[in-house]
């Protein structure tokens, strides 16, 4: 079978798998961003208990492997009475894992805003919430986005692991096709190319445009 025949027969299947990969990625990214902000702020709290809780969470999820977390959520939680669908387990594991990395990025961004900005906001009698939302956080965007973009590309790559808990994503479709056709080179080669195209021509240009927008927002470009 020529490669063109292979493509015309199996590419649609791989692309539909890629659709699921994108779904997993978007859901996990949203979850990771929310977790990053919550735990990043908790890390900065002056309350010892809150700060310690955030540190434990972050070190725990950064110190163990994503695959272990994924298996634990999918295979062990049901034993404790909490059964989650493969999709939810996958999104949860990815979101919790990348949220831990993201929290450190977010914390670093907040901490790098010059002290004078806080003091000026206090001098202008702004409430803590207003100070954070109007003064501090907008200034962190341009600092946070480059490392956050790297994490997002890593997240896209990490979504391949959800195939191992039977989410029918690109990797899962590839494994299935490999098992039925035994055209390993074509199947996995094409899969690699599809992932590459998604990252290089979809995700990365999008993130770069966000970075550019954030830099313009604070007058840097």
């Amino acid at each position: 079978m020529s490669y063109l025949e292979f493509l015309s027969e199996y590419l649609p299947k791989l692309v539909s798998g890629a659709g699921m990969t994108v779904m997993v990625m978007i859901c996990a990214t949203v979850l990771a961003v929310v977790i990053s902000i919550i735990f990043g702020l908790m890390r900065l709290s002056s309350n010892f208990t809150i700060q310690t809780a955030a540190t434990v969470y972050i070190e725990f999820f950064r110190g163990t492997s994503l695959l272990v977390q994924l298996y634990w959520i999918y295979y062990v939680l049901p034993l404790m009475g909490l059964t989650l669908s493969p999709f939810v387990s996958g999104v949860l594991a990815l979101g919790l894992n990348f949220g831990a990395y993201g929290a450190e990025v977010f914390r670093g961004g907040i901490q790098s805003v010059p002290r004078g900005q806080y003091e000026a906001a206090i001098a202008l009698n702004m409430s803590p919430a207003k100070r954070m939302l109007r003064i501090i956080i907008p200034q962190t965007f341009s600092l946070i986005l480059p490392p956050a973009a790297n994490l997002t590309v890593e997240l896209l790559k990490a979504t391949a692991l959800v195939a191992l808990i039977t989410v029918v994503d690109l990797m899962f479709v590839a494994k299935q096709l490999n098992a039925t056709t035994w055209l390993s080179a074509q199947v996995f080669g094409t899969t690699l190319i599809v992932y590459y195209v998604m990252a290089r021509f979809g995700l990365i240009p999008f993130l770069r445009s966000l970075e550019g927008r954030a830099a313009r927002m604070v007058g840097k470009s």
């Binding site: 492997s65 272990v68 790559k157 191992l164 494994k175 690699l192 990252a199």
Partner: protein
């Protein structure tokens, strides 16, 4: 489902043996990655622009595709070309190549972090290129590269469970096997998590100390 300590002690020897395999996989993978990274970095600094371009694109390709797919690609495709690879060899090669691309970026950043004036001063003093690298540039580039190199050591360690999917008998594979034999998944999977935690956290802390020590030895302070 209750946690059973007797079962935990029963499977502990097998888990520890598998931990040895995991550590070996991480060590060998890292060694390959360090060397491959060096070659890929040099491949982007040749006098031939075409070579630089091709190596750069290959690095980009490997960096933006998942390690899991690459593992399957190497493991299943090599036999089609008549190359018999064991799961171990395929795994080590793939991990080495994948993280080699990351390390090449670390090296590149470190070399670019050495001020240009250092090169000019060496030229003025009539040092040879080799001597400049050995005595002036590399000692200054090393502390810059150290944090990145350390992070990817821990990174490789945490990605070794992926090797279980092609049948390397490391921790995750052993936990899967134990679960299948005994129908108990709680203890094996939880133990895998804790073993990872008690190895990666002290390693990360040790690396931070090493960085600080190297900085101090070179008369720099980091905050």
């Amino acid at each position: 489902m209750e946690w059973r300590w007797d079962f935990t002690w029963e499977i502990l020897p097998r888990m520890l043996w598998a931990t040895g395999n995991t550590l070996m996989a991480a060590g060998v993978g890292y060694l390959i990655a360090v060397i491959v990274g060096l070659l890929l970095m040099l491949g982007q600094r040749t006098p031939y622009r075409l070579v630089n371009f091709i190596v750069r694109e290959v690095v980009e390709f490997i960096r933006s595709t998942p390690l899991l797919v690459q593992l399957f690609f190497v493991f299943f495709v090599a036999p089609q070309f008549g190359i018999k690879l064991s799961a171990w060899t395929a795994g080590m090669l793939t991990i080495g190549l994948h993280f080699g691309t990351y390390l090449s970026e670390v090296y590149r950043g470190a070399l670019e972090g050495v001020p240009k004036a250092q090169w000019e001063a060496c030229r003025a003093l009539n040092f040879t290129t080799a001597y400049t690298y050995r005595k002036i540039v590399l000692p200054q580039a090393f502390p810059i590269a150290l944090p990145g190199m350390g992070n990817y050591l821990v990174g490789i360690f945490k990605d070794t469970p992926l090797l279980a999917t092609i049948g390397v008998a490391e921790l995750m594979h052993t936990a899967n096997a134990l679960g299948a034999e005994t129908y108990r998944y709680l203890e094996p999977y939880t133990m895998v998590g804790f073993i990872f935690l008690i190895i990666s956290l002290p390693t990360a802390m040790g690396l931070r100390r090493l960085e600080a020590a190297v900085d101090r030895a070179q008369g720099k302070t980091r905050y």
